[in-house]
């Protein structure tokens, strides 16, 4: 049978099976009673708890999905694009009708830890409960207290726009059975306190693996932990985060990691695209101890297998020679003829995973879009990059991107003009 016949058939079978599972057993989830107790209104109003919750909500970048541009923070509205459809982030303010005003702490915990809505429906894993399940009850309590302290905003959450059969929430029972196990963070007694703190932040609230890992056809993260992956529908590549041999951050020091997360740029690279938003909204607000902890944890990620040397049916030498001409004309003034950039101002391109990641998407989109790294307290007036979408055609963009992926110490595949054309009109949100 053809693939296009098999996939819908499999999906429909899964949907039916999912409905059955939901009826038969998973309904138990409907009455999950969290073991985390309730919160009195006095405890909720504790300013120290609320402040800690604000910090943790920033660490989890909750506002990133639960706010719309130009709207009030946490009032919902942003639609997260996925291959299955658009899923809006709901209103998290304490409005009783449209927000979580009627949610008890147990309801909140059930969502965060089990991925279950107050009415018992399963939540779509666009909400990263797969990571948040590692958040401790204490931290969840603080976040809940913070959200309850926000001004209530009346704003209906748009309905999710998913294609069949993903619009049937019952199908999620199957997905959950295959890809989700609720469970807390298990500290590793053999590691330092800093490592454990970093692991907790990266694996839990930071939900880094939700972007920095490959996803399979059913939208579940697969492959090696934090080994990088394409962000579906947003058309960016979240690179591998290993700092060891053949890793995406090979050659980075702990200081570089901290600099990037705190200021948006480091001597080895700058944050752009979705990571610029993450730095601006989330990581720049983390304390130094937590940033150091994250760097400590990332430094322990294992080395990666060397990537096989790219092979191409095209005349790579001719392409990169032509690409070098474009580079000399448009790029070398800032990034240097040697691709080393200017420390603290313009990122190097030699050895930069934004250039060498497997797909070439990041380099193509950055050449087309240019832009500013995030404006942060540590870098309030960043230098920017011109967009080249107007000046360079698909062929020239492909040439220059192929050149920088092959120049100096870089050994990544070339890209073709057809690929560039695909990324000219991609979502910016």
């Amino acid at each position: 049978m053809k693939r296009w016949v098999v996939i819908p058939v499999v999906v429909v079978v899964l949907a039916v099976l999912g409905g059955w599972l939901w009826m038969a057993g998973q309904r138990v989830g409907h009455v999950v009673t969290p073991e985390v107790g309730a919160l009195t209104s006095e405890a909720l109003a504790d300013p120290a708890l609320v402040a800690r919750g604000a910090y943790l909500a920033a660490a989890g970048d909750c506002a990133g999905c639960h706010s719309v541009r130009g709207g009030l923070p946490y009032a919902g509205g942003r639609s997260v694009p996925t291959p299955f459809g658009n899923i809006p982030g709901p209103n998290l303010t304490p409005d009783p009708e449209t927000g979580i005003g009627r949610w008890s702490f147990a309801d909140f915990w059930r969502a965060l830890h089990y991925g279950q809505r107050k009415d018992g429906q399963w939540l779509y894993p666009a909400f990263p409960f797969t990571s948040y399940t590692k958040v401790t009850p204490e931290d969840a309590r603080a976040i809940y207290a913070y959200l309850r302290s926000l001004p209530a905003v009346r704003r209906e959450t748009d309905a999710a726009k998913l294609s069949f059969p993903y619009n049937l929430r019952s199908t999620l029972a199957v997905w959950r059975a295959r890809y989700f196990r609720p469970g807390g963070f298990q500290p590793d007694a053999g590691q330092s306190a800093a490592w454990n703190r970093g692991a907790y932040l990266v694996q839990g609230l930071g939900h880094c693996n939700e972007c920095h890992a490959p996803r399979n056809a059913l939208g579940a993260t697969t492959g090696a932990w934090l080994s990088g992956g394409e962000i579906p529908r947003q058309d960016w590549y979240a690179p591998d985060l290993s700092m060891q041999a053949n890793g995406g951050l090979q050659g980075w020091t702990a200081r570089d990691v901290v600099d990037l997360l705190k200021t948006g740029h480091a001597t080895k690279g700058a944050a752009f695209g979705p990571m610029a938003d993450v730095v601006a909204d989330s990581t720049q607000h983390l304390g130094d101890a937590d940033l150091d902890a994250i760097a400590t944890y990332l430094a322990s990620l294992p080395p990666r297998q060397p990537r096989p040397a790219p092979r191409s049916a095209f005349d790579v030498k001719r392409i990169t020679a032509a690409g070098e001409k474009v580079y000399r004309q448009h790029c070398a003034d800032c990034h240097g003829g040697d691709g080393r950039g200017v420390a603290g101002v313009y990122p190097p391109l030699d050895g930069n995973s934004a250039v060498t990641e497997p797909t070439g998407i990041n380099a193509m989109r950055t050449v087309l879009l240019g832009g500013f790294p995030p404006v942060t307290a540590g870098n309030p007036r960043p230098y920017s990059m011109p967009p080249y979408a107007q000046q360079l055609d698909d062929s020239d963009v492909a040439l220059v991107v192929s050149y920088i992926r092959q120049a100096w110490g870089n050994k990544a595949s070339i890209v073709r003009p057809e690929q560039v054309g695909k990324y000219r009109h991609t979502p910016i949100d």
Partner: protein, 236 residues
């Protein structure tokens, strides 16, 4: 002494240990290459593009508000929305002040061929409006010579035809909006499509007035209610 040396060594452009490392001027102009590549180093626009608008000399309040509107999604144009998405209010204002302070000669963009009658209709709309359709004159808000009004109303001189007509179209299709009540959406909604061609062609082809700076604050009385003009220091 040692401290002074360290500071100097850390200044951008002073990383010159490496002969290949480019020298980078520590100026705003250098920092905003993302803006100047389309709008010109002095905000003169790029007439050859027939689209990118001039920013030089426009009121700073207006320019800062436009950056904010792109960031908030009120104005829709993906390249601008992406570029400004993470700018802080302070940086936005610094950039707006820079372009507002630039004084460079005006250049003209090509205008599509239109008849004398069309240009006459355009001039009529700009200077007198169309009372029958309740369209106020452009000049009633944008200044007698259409050079704008401090601190918030932009000038309409020296803009490309494509830019003006697409902005009026954008107000009709709600891809450009501003704080409510959105007076420009009302005006654009009352125009006929042929009016948009007429007024854009006349504005883009008009001989420049002798003085192109915006009029002083408080010198116009807008005939429509405009949300943006009710915020102190804000811009349309």
């Amino acid at each position: 002494m040692a401290a002074a040396f360290l500071v100097a060594a850390m200044a951008p452009g002073a990383f010159g240990q490496d002969a290949a490392a480019p020298q980078v001027p520590d100026t705003l102009q250098q920092r905003i290459a993302a803006c100047t590549t389309c709008h010109g180093v002095h905000g003169e626009g790029t007439p050859g593009s027939k689209y990118f608008p001039r920013l030089a000399g426009k009121p700073a309040g207006y320019l800062a508000r436009q950056i904010q509107n792109f960031q908030d999604g009120l104005r829709k144009y993906p390249p601008m929305e992406y570029t400004v998405r993470n700018l802080s209010p302070a940086y936005m204002h610094e950039i707006a002040d820079y372009f507002s302070a630039q004084q460079v000669p005006y250049a003209r963009s090509p205008v599509p061929p239109v008849t004398a009658a069309v240009l006459q209709r355009g001039e009529q709309l700009a200077r007198d409006g169309d009372p029958q359709r309740k369209v106020p004159a452009c000049a009633s808000c944008h200044g007698v010579e259409l050079t704008g009004v401090e601190p918030a109303i932009p000038g309409l001189v020296g803009l490309p035809y494509d830019y003006i007509s697409s902005q009026l179209g954008a107000w009709r299709t709600h891809t450009r909006a501003m704080r409510k009540p959105d007076c420009m959406a009302v005006v654009a909604g009352r125009l006929q499509e042929s009016d948009i061609t007429a007024v854009a062609a006349w504005l883009a082809s008009r001989t420049l007035p002798a003085h192109v700076r915006p009029q002083p604050p408080g010198t116009v009385k807008p005939p429509l209610s405009c949300g943006v003009l009710e915020v102190p220091g804000a811009g349309a």
